[in-house]
Symmetry: C2
Subunit: 149 residues, 2 copies
DNA sequence: TGAAAACCAACTATTTTAGTAGGGATTGTA
DNA sequence: TACAATCCCTACTAAAATAGTTGGTTTTCA
């Protein structure tokens, strides 16, 4: 039940973009450096995010990436689903696919998987990038200094 | 975020044992047949369940497996954790291990993983095998016949 | 014009998954 | 007592997924 690095790195990258929202394009190298992620690998992840409309890019020198929307309008759920596919503990409850098994009418484990799926979705759809930025500022205030100087 | 077949098959097997609770040992072959699982593979999974005290075994002819406790005293959470390890979307929030990362004080993605972990645990710890048996009987009643004849 | 950056496709090492193979040990029943 | 049914155990393995790496091309600002 672990997320792959796709979802984990992807969320970190998006959070980093949220921290710098409104300040123009951020080059991938900066994101990779601050989050300690292989730049070239992150490139693949952010390409997926871009193709799914969650980030915009600016090419050429002084280019980079930025969120396509305000941080309070992008949820963790959107990011994770784009990178990992539908969140489901079993294929039979993956809502984007039609992988129904032939025993689903009698299957009670399916009910369990549905409950798990729904509870995860509820959590990740309720957290926005803005929430994470707020958490981050709170964490830093508690430690006696501000992130933005 | 998918469970492996360990957790999925394991829960199916435990459910099967719950259906026959109190009727003496059930041979692995029966479980494997009714749930369409490779018998030899299931053997490995049930060995884990036995070593962790969730099932008892009876060796020799007419032997088999049975739940170590009443179905309402075994949760889905116990079964899944034994077979899959600690439920955590990221190692940094796996409660059985000490895989804390050095950035955890500043890390806001960790907060997200904790919320996901907690919500999954809440769901799986609240469902017992007896709940699944009840669901199963309800499903079969709705279809106009009883499971036990 | 050159450096900084995004963009793209293919390759690869490692790990995990989902089993299989091949036996040994125990025990109820004929 | 033989034997079939059953649990028990270790090791091996094919296939898939993961987590990158390699080696470029294209665009654009200064």
């Amino acid at each position: 039940m672990k997320l792959s690095t796709k979802g984990r790195y992807g969320l970190k990258a998006m959070f980093e973009l949220a921290l710098h929202y409104g300040k123009g394009p951020i080059p991938l190298k900066n994101i990779a450096d601050s989050q300690r992620i292989s730049e070239h690998y992150l490139e693949q992840l952010i390409a997926t995010l871009r193709k799914n409309g969650l980030v915009n890019s600016v090419r050429g020198a002084q280019g980079g990436y930025m969120l396509s929307e305000k941080p309070d309008n992008i949820t963790v759920g959107q990011i994770i689903r784009v990178l990992e596919g539908s969140i489901a503990p079993s294929d039979c409850v993956a809502d984007d696919e039609d992988l129904t098994c032939n025993r689903e009418k009698q299957c009670v484990t399916k009910i369990v998987w549905e409950k798990i799926r729904d509870s995860i979705n509820e959590v990740i759809d309720s957290i926005t990038l803005q929430d994470m930025v707020d958490d981050h500022e709170r964490l830093n205030n508690d430690r006696g200094y501000m992130y933005y100087i």
